[in-house]
Amino acid sequence: MIEFLHRPWPWWVAGPLIGLFVPLLLIIGNRLFGVSANLRHLCAATLPSPTEYLRYDWKARGGWNLAFAAGIVLGGFLAGFVFANPDPIAIATSTQADLSALGIVDFEGLVPADLFAADALFSLRGWIVLGLGGFLVGFGAAWAGGCTSGHGIAGLGDLQLPSLLAIGSFFVGGIAATHLLLPLLF
């Protein structure tokens, strides 16, 4: 049983269950699934807000979603720390080869230690991957009005054309960064 809890779940188990969160949140409280709104709520809650975009009643509008995000942290702790998968993630051998060629040597865990170890915070590469990367995630999601959950699952799930345009752009940006930007960092 304990061994079972440590095992990763295949896409055909995780995928349909993820899709279920859109109707689940609608039925529980008429809430639309979308995680990046929390970045805006965190701004409104913690940073000076001289613009209207960041000045609103974040507790009333975003309280439910911030609780949802706190739950994600807890879920990550349970599934990724308490019941962590002890084996390296079974990515394609071609991806392993490509990443090895870049200089990634450690394939243990959810993320490469070469980029995410605590000492990454003391390297330029770490600041580009985590600092610039994180900044673009926050800036881009706000500009696009949603992220992988809000556009990719909820928006596409509602057959919204703007969400299709957003998802297509996510992939163009991601593919370009994978092939043009990552090689420059190593």
Binding site: G75, G138, S163, G173, L182
Partner: protein, 146 residues
């Protein structure tokens, strides 16, 4: 959500639902930098399988909710505000920037939170940066095309 015990109860429900979601994206390896690289290199089916099966559930259930005029548990009529296309610039420009960030960090906003819980302290830098990114958008919003 009239009295505070009700509000606290509602928050606990969302905390619980969020916990289940966090377990799912972690066990489903959606939060793995390696999986995102595999996806952007078109070398594995895993992430595409996740998206495809998630949508296979989300699309018909949303249609069902709309056609069936289903109400939420609190009695409200469920309304899903449509996304405004406008000139569409925000979706392309914001989307491209988001994609670059997604490839670098290997994490979109949900996974950012899950990785923090999974014991990757360095992801805190990405979270703080993402909040600052959203704040910067807020400051520049009136000058950006949408």
């Amino acid at each position: 959500m009239t009295s505070s015990p009700n509000r606290l109860g509602a928050l606990l429900v969302y905390l619980g639902v969020g916990t289940l979601f966090g377990i799912l994206i972690t066990k489903g390896e959606v939060i793995s930098w390696f999986r995102i690289q595999e996806m952007f290199r078109f070398q594995g089916f895993h992430m595409y399988g996740i998206f495809a099966t998630a949508l296979a559930v989300a699309v018909p259930s949303i249609l069902l909710i709309k056609k069936g005029k289903i109400r939420a548990l609190n009695g409200e009529r469920i309304v899903i505000p449509p996304k405004v296309m406008g000139r569409g610039i925000r979706y392309v420009a914001g989307g491209l920037l988001f994609g670059v960030g997604w490839a670098l960090t290997g994490a979109c906003p949900g996974p950012l939170f899950a990785l923090l819980g999974a014991g990757i302290p360095a992801i805190g830098l990405a979270i703080v940066s993402a909040v600052l990114g959203t704040w910067s958008y807020g400051m520049l919003r009136s000058r950006l095309p949408h």
